[in-house]
């Protein structure tokens, strides 16, 4: 699966990122094709979350560039990237516990450019997740793990992003909910939202995505179409437990 330049919604070129003196990303390059699901897999501490935070503009890059839609956004702060329709659903949900579900969702349309569509988006999100509608007056901190994940994804979709980044959406959820979440991801991908998915649940992640990157200790070590990665000997041994039983998360 070759990715022609025009089809690249996002391109990361040679990203070096450090926390203080500790460098965690070493020359990361990858791209995300428009309308496709791209995934990054790897074990704990490989740098996947750091990568997403860098794309979102939360962490500064030491060297390298982030290109969105042909525009260099490396120097732009997080809010300017949100304004260009990037949206991050972070690891661990990161909701506001003492704000209602509805307010949490509304915050997804915080930027002035998005405010006019807040009410329309809210209706759309409630159609996707009827559970959230039932609980809309409830404080987000009182939701179950699955509901919190729905709320976080809902917030990410409020601004109608071009690129939705999902960080470990299934972490800590019951197996049945994991099925539901991935089914949902497949659904929104089908509607044409470009997705960059990060997950430790390699089995599901590769099944739902088109193209994948494997990250190990801050470097990308392998890439290819997801079905090829799924059958790759190294991937099977390291992440899929030799292809037998696969554990979630």
């Amino acid at each position: 699966m070759s990715q022609a330049p025009a089809e690249k919604l996002l391109e990361a070129q040679n990203l070096d990122v450090s926390y203080g003196v500790t460098q965690v990303l070493w020359g990361i390059s990858f791209s995300v094709a428009r309308g496709k699901v791209t995934c990054i897999i790897g074990s704990n501490g490989a740098g996947k979350t750091t990568t997403l935070n860098t794309i979102a503009g939360v962490l500064p890059t030491k060297t390298g560039r982030v290109i969105l839609n042909g525009e260099d956004v490396t120097a732009l702060p997080a809010r300017e990237r949100v304004n260009r329709h990037i949206s991050l659903v972070p690891e661990g949900r990161q909701l506001w516990p003492n704000m209602s579900v509805e307010e949490n969702l509304m915050m997804g349309c915080f930027l002035p450019n998005f405010r006019h569509k807040a009410h329309g988006s809210l209706t759309r999100i409630y159609d996707l997740f009827p559970r959230l509608k039932e609980r809309r007056r409830q404080m987000a901190g009182t939701l179950s793990g699955g509901e919190q994940q729905m709320c976080a994804i809902g917030r990410g979709l409020m601004s109608e992003p071009q690129l939705l980044m999902l960080d470990e959406p299934s972490l800590g959820l019951a197996p049945k909910l994991v099925d539901e979440i991935f089914e949902f991801i497949a659904n929104i991908a089908h509607q044409g939202v470009t997705i960059l998915l990060v997950g430790q649940n390699v089995n599901y992640t590769l099944q739902v995505s088109h193209y994948g990157y494997v990250m190990e200790v801050g470097r990308i070590t392998l890439e290819g179409p997801s079905d090829m990665l799924f059958n790759n000997e190294h991937v099977r041994r390291a992440y899929l437990g030799t292809g037998e039983e696969v554990s979630a998360g």
Partner: protein
């Protein structure tokens, strides 16, 4: 203590709570959003009192109107202080020594500026209604206290609405509860911090003017209220205006009734120990419920 005496004390405690809440709320929002313990709050309170005083003495502007005028004036003043000083502080999730020292230093500057301008004299704002009182049955209430209470409550209600219904209010709460999440949806924390500092200062100036209508003041005015603000914040938590109001009521009631406690017919707390009450309350609250009174009423589940 007979019943009418009790009722009188209770009413005056509640009236006091209004202005206490107005004075603490400014400190609360600043701490919540920026994690800065604003020691200069005492200086802003003091300036608020002199602001109303000067307007009354020079232009015969009613101090109540002066207090309302203090809101926009101190809002701009606070934004200026933020732009000039506060924004250079390193960002942190916990209060830093640098921020404490900066605000303490700025308080000293404000205090000495006031000594220079108004000297070390006790001032008070004396209007025709300062000494009048309202009688309702057995209850006697000084008119000024009633007016101050009403003004404080109205402003707190407006603040509560801003806090809950406006995008600015949402951005403040988002920064208080989860700054990272606020950043990824595009909240500009520099801008929100600047506005919040303005808002907190506005309420300090407003509350200072109201306090100046009740008490005499000097350039050191504000010191005793700084500690009370701490107590109220610790009692009420950071999440809501109503938490602050609750903390203010508790403090005012304890302060008012504390000196009335008798043991074998003797008052056990001499008047001179009254300021110690808020200290003692602070220690007790930190020991028993470090997360504030509100934690007793809300069932919170930790986010995983």
């Amino acid at each position: 203590m007979d019943f009418s005496q009790f009722l009188n004390l209770l009413i005056s405690a509640l009236l006091l709570a209004g202005v206490y809440a107005a004075m603490a709320v400014g400190m609360t929002v600043i701490y919540g959003v920026m994690k800065i313990v604003n020691l200069a709050h005492a200086g802003f309170l003091m300036l608020g009192a002199y602001f109303a005083f000067e307007l009354y003495e020079r232009f015969h502007i009613d101090p109540l109107f002066g207090a309302v005028l203090a809101l926009p004036v101190f809002f701009l003043f606070g934004m200026g202080v933020h732009w000039l000083l506060v924004r250079w502080l390193p960002k942190s999730d916990t209060p830093t020594l640098a921020s404490l020292l900066l605000m303490f230093g700025f308080w000293l500057v404000l205090q000495n500026f006031a000594y220079m301008v108004w000297h070390n004299d006790d001032r008070s704002i004396t209007t025709p209604r300062t000494l009048s009182a309202v009688n309702i049955g057995q209850i006697t209430v000084p008119e000024v206290n009633l007016i101050v209470f009403a003004a404080a409550v109205v402003c707190l209600i407006v603040l509560q609405i801003v806090f809950n219904r406006s995008w600015f209010g949402r951005s403040m709460r988002a920064l208080i509860q989860n700054p990272y999440a606020a950043q990824i949806v595009g909240v500009d924390d520099g801008r929100t911090s600047r506005l919040t500092f303005g808002l907190g200062t506005a309420f300090a100036g407003f509350a200072g003017a109201l306090l100046g209508m009740i008490y005499t003041f000097s350039p050191d005015f504000g010191r005793q209220f700084l500690l009370r603000s701490f107590v109220i914040i610790v009692l009420g938590g950071l999440d809501s205006v109503s938490g602050v109001a609750l903390g203010a009521v508790v403090l005012a009631v304890v302060e008012t009734f504390g000196p009335q406690i008798q043991f074998h017919g003797k008052y056990i707390l001499p008047d001179s120990l009254q300021p110690a009450i808020s200290f003692a309350l602070l220690v007790v609250v930190l020991l028993i419920m470090p997360k504030g009174l509100a934690s007793m009423f809300t069932r919170k589940r930790r986010l995983t």
